[in-house]
């Protein structure tokens, strides 16, 4: 659906975006995640044909997307939704009908269907400027789907919405994507949102794609310290592989030894990655078969959404996600002594130079 190679965009500010290769297939939901200023929007704008790359090739639906002759055709095959809905000062119905009108089409059924899909049929006579934020986003999505796009580009589509509205819209969007079988590319810095929606994922940092693949691979096995940090690996420890038996490595870090399943060899300098949700906290020394078990002292415990983020000192600093019930049940508070355990298979090693 979209193929890009050696794409380069330069900015007056000196920032450079350069993507060696990216391949997005039809019917796939592809997320591009990365921190602020990584170049996500620029990349999306290039795909939306709003910004011309300095060099490289961009192919959309089998056409050379950089050829001026294909621009209108490709633009009319796709829809783009930005973080702001950018509705016109007109009724919701006319807003949703606008992309059809611009194509010289009149298709009342398609408009009604799009309104229905995003549950805003009852608002169609209202002026779009009087809608709430959530309703505006629904209108913008309905407008994007009124033409039944083959390709949908979303730029931080839910950035300004509160969690609850975000969740319901994301769920409806997921359904609509399935119905239309469109290829979807969306960029976001919200990795949680990316996980709930996407089939494939790419991590963009400083204008370069650091890693792409299945989301679970990237979240569990990041290729670099920066990616690990961005995808929510909160414990990243420098260490050295001391020995290895089969694929079980003993890694020394901060005077402690961690057991990790990995293909790294003895002597390798590595970063050990521990995701907070893989850490179990208990009062008993029985680790229940987990190979890593450390007596540790609670440094801090702070609420994080429905859970608590607990910082533990076990010779090295370990961060764990713990449910509120457990925090109350175990009496976790600064200074308390607990056991922290995690599986050798839950850990991941990144080789460092």
């Amino acid at each position: 659906m979209i193929k890009l190679s050696n794409l380069r965009l330069d900015f007056d500010t000196g920032f450079k975006l350069s993507v060696d290769s990216l391949n997005i297939r039809g019917g796939e939901v592809f997320a591009i995640i990365g921190p602020n200023g990584a170049g996500k929007t620029t990349l999306l704008n290039a795909m939306a044909l709003l910004r011309k790359p300095a060099s490289g090739t961009l192919e959309i639906m089998g056409c050379d997307a950089l050829a001026p002759a294909n621009k209108m055709f490709l633009r009319r095959a796709m829809s783009v939704v930005f973080s702001q809905p950018y509705l016109t000062n007109d009724t919701v119905y006319n807003n949703v009908a606008l992309p059809l009108k611009l194509r010289g089409l009149k298709d009342g059924a398609a408009v009604e269907e799009a309104l229905e899909l995003f549950k805003i049929s009852h608002l169609k006579g209202r002026n779009a400027k009087t809608l709430s934020q959530g309703e505006s986003h629904r209108a913008a999505l309905a407008r994007a789907f009124a033409i039944r796009p083959k390709l949908l580009l979303l730029d931080e589509p839910f950035a300004s919405l509160d969690e609850r509205v975000k969740d319901t819209i994301a769920r409806d969007l997921r359904k609509v994507i399935t119905v239309y079988n469109a290829a979807v590319v969306f960029v976001t810095q919200d990795q949680g949102g990316a996980l709930t929606l996407c089939d494939k994922l790419a991590v963009l940092m400083n204008g370069k794609i650091m890693q792409q693949g299945l989301p679970q691979d990237i979240f569990v096995r990041p290729v670099s310290r920066e990616v690990a940090d961005f995808v929510g690996v909160e414990t990243i420890l420098p260490g050295k592989v001391a020995s290895r038996r089969d694929n079980l490595c003993a890694v020394e870090t901060g005077g402690k030894t961690l057991m990790v399943v990995s293909d790294c060899g003895p002597g390798d300098s590595v970063f050990v990655c521990v995701r907070p949700e893989d850490v179990s906290v208990s009062l008993s020394a029985d680790a229940g078969g987990r190979r890593n078990n450390f007596k540790s002292r609670v440094v801090s415990a702070a609420p994080w959404g429905l859970e608590y983020k607990v910082e533990l000192d076990c010779g090295f600093t370990l961060r764990a996600a713990v449910t509120k019930q457990l925090v109350d049940g175990l009496g976790i508070k600064p200074g308390a002594e607990v056991y922290a355990s995690f599986k050798a298979t839950a850990l991941h090693l990144i080789r460092r130079a």
């Binding site: 704008n45 939306a48 709003l50 009319r76 796709m78 611009l102 194509r103 407008r143 580009l153």
Partner: protein
């Protein structure tokens, strides 16, 4: 003091007496300025929108030139148009000198930079990302400009009001190009100048009052449209 008061009295009497010549003059004033404004809007609004959203070399220079054109002295516009339309001028074959058509041309030249410049600045107030959003909805450049202009129609209408106000009150260009010929090219402003110079203050006051009333009526109508859309 007394001659001013009596001037007003006589002027108002003249208006209500239904003097045919005065009404013909008023009609011509209105026709010339409305047509010139319409033509300037037809060209200037899309042109202003295009200048605002497009990137091209010397764009800032062009905007500066258009802004300068806003202050173009009507007599200069009138002089240039007269030279072009004069018998030996390049457009002399049109025979438009001393005709309402020539006056309309001169007034278009005065109104065009005003309406274009105000449209440029109105269009520049549109969020560039809104324009991009419209492009991604499948719009061609002109379609996107049209959608954006519709979005800022109130500001564009203000540009129209400014342009018309300037034209209906303008005297220099219509005087030079029209020549203030009785029954042919005499409009309210040129007639007012003439009557004043001849010492016919009551007629001059009557003409001035009609001009004010006309200007008010047109602006009131435009304002009503503008505020209704708000």
């Amino acid at each position: 003091m007394e001659f001013i008061l009596s001037g007003f009295q006589k002027g108002i009497t003249l208006i209500f007496s239904g003097n045919a010549e005065i009404f013909a003059i008023a009609r011509l004033s209105l026709t010339v300025s409305v047509l010139a404004t319409a033509a300037a809007v037809f060209v200037g609004v899309p042109l202003g929108g295009w200048i605002a959203v497009k990137k091209f070399p010397l764009k800032k220079l062009l905007i500066a030139l258009v802004n300068t054109g806003m202050g173009l002295p009507p007599v200069v516009a009138g002089l240039v148009v007269m030279l072009f339309l004069s018998r030996s001028g390049p457009l002399g074959f049109l025979n438009w000198l001393y005709t309402p058509m020539g006056m309309i041309i001169a007034q278009i030249i005065i109104a065009l930079p005003i309406i274009t410049a105000l449209s440029v600045s109105a269009m520049q107030s549109v969020d560039p990302r809104f324009y991009q959003q419209v492009l991604t909805l499948g719009a061609s450049d002109w379609q996107a400009i049209k959608v954006c202009l519709k979005e800022i129609r109130l500001t564009v209408l203000a540009a129209v009001i400014a342009g018309f106000g300037r034209l209906v009150a303008e005297v220099g260009a219509v005087m030079i190009v029209g020549g203030n010929i009785r029954h042919q090219t005499r409009v309210l402003t040129t007639a007012t100048v003439m009557e004043t110079q001849m010492g016919n203050f009551d007629t001059a006051i009557a003409l001035g009052l009609i001009l004010l009333t006309l200007s008010f009526a047109v602006n009131m109508a435009l304002t009503l449209i503008q505020q209704k859309k708000a």
